[in-house]
Symmetry: C2
Subunit: 502 residues, 2 copies
């Protein structure tokens, strides 16, 4: 065995021990969100923090640092997967070490407070109540940026938590070209009179029947139930709590047919990604520092490109009709149009496939300006509303439904929002590539055969996606760096058809 | 604050930190038994062991040792609860420290192997296959006994893991007096011709309806669902995974009405005990070293003295009839007799309330003789069968259903069995005391009011039961040390009536 290989094995052992506590903390979280009795809330928070801190302590231990140091210059002796792992862990380690423990503790405590204040402020729709806490968060993040280091833009120092390899310049280039086409396209759709009939999706849908449908859709896309399960929660999420245990959650709303079903496909896409990771990284617990955009590309692909496609529903609609007989009298085309309705809404999480990216684009512009100190927190509500007008042509009725709607900034997550948009774009780039390589992909989906799609993702994206930078991965798999062209083409083609635009 | 009080607070903080990992390990275990996808089995075992080892490391840390040392001679400044806690933790700490880590590791590994060999041996009903592994386990336990120290009997050095404060002499005294009365009483019952009609309890009982009934019975006895939940598993258990989170599990057998219902009451009794512990010990994770007999007394009280009593069913039978209409034509008296059928069986876990203790009595005699070296492992099958004949008047059809039936010895649990018997006896002593103090207790139970019973237990038994020795607790609450008199009287009175013995 080469020295590098033996060092990698040492590193893997150290990471495995750390990850055990990381995975245990994820089980504590999963249980809290799905099963835990309410009185345990306070105690559970303490146990979670303590177990998770043990992960962090072991991840940032001197042994890990020394092993990484010994590997410097020897990485090329490793397989590409091993190289990517070493590089990723090296980056995560360096960033973790860059923040003095006392500063990190102060930040963690402040973000707990800021979160509480944000909840209150949102309830009362009172931005001024949140303002000082948000200013404090930005202060911390600026200190972090200095400690991480950057060339020109402090925002670039924050992005690697969520999107390593992507810079603010990349984002600006992408957003600029996308905005030019997307804003007018949305206006065009909104003005069309032949709107889909959304009311087809409202009614009474008992939970057990919805569950049946969700389980069937998970089986169809290839979710491995020997290595995962489906549970219910308030805010759906996917979580990995072991080498072979990735769980999805959904929320069955009795009055809405599409909500749980599509969120199940979304989380299912995330889960397929984790279930497909290479055995070399199965025992590596990731908290952040990997491409969330690639992760999100998998969820969005299965939610939108598969789960809201006509091909998918040609196969799945009879199953739905079997369970909810009401749909026997609803033509597939009407149903397909209903799940693809486009309408501008002030709330990001309710946004449809087309308008979603607009929400992200102006959030990026705002948070970058905040971190660079180009705008002041006190002016945020006004800036928010004018950006929303500019991008979406609407105004939120109050700050609770505007600048206060998202939790991210209260937790200090600056640089997180772009991954949502990138996920959509990456999904389109990857989906375009797989369709070029598997010519009859859509036909197979129409027959209910999603195996070729999963096999392709399992070969090209899943094994080492968690340890690679998105631009490298995309260049290798699709031949291009991240861009908005494929997504815009996909959207235009799909919605031209749905809205009868010729 | 007195110095002792401040040291107790230090100790509590140290125990709390250790307990967080203990509770996390319990969640890992609960999840494994109830929710975990199958492929995670191997990885989960590793995570569980690592997280639990962290608990043990912190529990046996030098800080804990030093704090305990500083408390020596100052305990009397503390409240009785604090005194009991310090004493119990002191004992657990001393015992944990008595075993060198290497020896403990060798024992843990050997017991894993012995468990596997026991599974194989039981499958093949081949005692010889298990013999060397069992000899090895006894060897370890003899070494442990030497290290723990004892006066006359090495078995006394092992008992405190499960029953601190009880000696082999106590057990012999109890068993001797019980055997004299119980063996002939069982013979008498078995010979009676008016046997209850057990077939009343067999049929088809859908899981969701059984669950409804189990949940209702848990509510009735006072189980706090804000601090716990009910799930399904193969072998029912109760587990505490936080300061305010105690969960019960049951196994719904579609063909049997009584199995899940009574096991739910059994586990519910365990859970009430944990839910009622004083806040001083809520953050103390107990693995062993407390009176399992008192714990078991709570489960047996709710399973047998409450759950198989006529008073309880006078209230609960209409609810059962409501859910399973078949019972509308079955008189309460017939149902009551059916759930109280007495019959000798070679298998301990299927034993009824009357014969159960006989199974324990001869197990104690055998394991004590094994540890003292008075009998040899190779002779066990023969000894087992002759003891079973002596106590129960029956012979197992093979070793799988005889000497190989229980897992305990393969895991090195010598001294564990007596707690099952003691639990029954303690339950009767406590139930006699509560009936003397609350004169209309049975009448209240008939009305579905179990609050007075729980209130009494919450005052006398639950708060500090986990840190007290059973003889002390019983002396204080009932006025007597552990004995078999109250249980024998309870059994005689109940079954004389059921079997029409005058």
């Amino acid at each position: 065995m080469s020295e590098a290989r033996s060092l990698l094995e040492n590193l893997s052992e150290l990471l495995k021990r750390a990850s055990m506590f990381g995975y245990a903390s994820n089980l504590l979280y999963w249980d809290q969100q799905t099963k835990m009795p309410i009185d345990e809330a306070k105690g559970r928070a303490e146990i979670y923090a303590t177990v998770k801190a043990e992960w962090f302590k072991l991840l940032t231990s001197n042994e890990v640092g020394e092993t990484l140091k010994k590997l410097v210059g020897k990485e090329t002796e490793l397989d590409p997967g091993g190289q990517a792992l070493v590089r990723r862990i090296g980056n995560i380690y360096e960033r973790a070490k860059a923040i003095p423990p006392d500063l990190f503790k102060a930040f963690s405590e402040a973000s707990l407070r800021a979160y509480t204040v944000w909840v209150e402020a949102k309830e009362k729709s009172d931005f001024k109540h949140f303002q000082p806490a948000l200013e404090e968060m930005i202060g911390f993040k600026n200190k972090f940026a200095e400690l991480y280091g950057y060339e020109k833009n402090p925002y670039d120092a924050l992005l690697p938590d969520f999107e390593p390899g992507i810079t603010s310049e990349d984002l600006k280039r992408i957003i600029q070209s996308l905005k030019e086409k997307l804003v007018p396209f949305v206006s065009l759709l909104i003005e069309k009179s032949n709107k889909p009939n959304e009311s087809l999706l409202r009614g009474h849908f008992p939970e057990d029947l919805q569950r049946q449908l969700s389980l069937e859709s998970l089986r169809l896309i290839g979710f491995n139930f020997n290595q995962g399960r489906l549970d219910t929660t308030v805010h759906p999420f996917t979580i990995t709590i072991g080498a072979d245990d990735t769980r999805v959650t959904t929320n069955f709303l009795p009055g809405e047919l599409d909500s749980a079903l599509l969120s199940t496909l979304h989380e299912g896409g995330h889960a397929l990604y984790d279930q497909g990771r290479d055995s070399l990284i199965k025992w590596v617990y990731f908290d952040r520092g990997y491409s969330m955009g690639i992760h999100e590309s998998q969820s969005r692909m299965f939610e939108n490109m598969v789960g809201k496609s006509l091909s998918y529903w040609k196969f799945f609609y009879p199953k739905l009709q079997n369970i909810f007989s009401y749909y026997e009298s609803v033509p597939l085309e009407d149903f397909y149009r209903a799940i693809n309705v486009v309408k501008t809404s002030p709330i990001r999480i309710y946004a449809d496939e087309v308008t979603y990216n607009l929400h992200i684009m102006f959030r990026f512009e705002i948070e970058e300006a905040l971190i660079k100190g180009e705008i002041e927190v006190k002016d945020l509500p006004e800036i928010w509303n004018s950006k929303m007008q500019e991008y979406l042509g609407i105004l939120p009725e109050n700050d609770a439904k505007g600048v206060l709607q998202d939790v991210h900034w209260s937790l200090g997550y600056f640089g997180y929002f772009p991954s949502y948009m990138l996920g959509n774009l990456y999904a389109a780039q990857l989906f375009d590539a797989v369709k070029r390589e598997i010519r009859d992909l859509e036909e197979e989906i129409t027959k209910g055969n999603l195996k070729p799609l999963l096999a392709w993702l399992r070969e090209k994206v899943h094994p080492f996606g968690l340890v690679r930078e998105a631009p490298d991965l995309l260049r290798e798999v699709t031949g291009e760096v991240p861009n908005s062209q494929y997504w815009m083409e996909y959207i235009k083609e799909k919605f031209d058809q749905i809205y009868g635009i010729s």
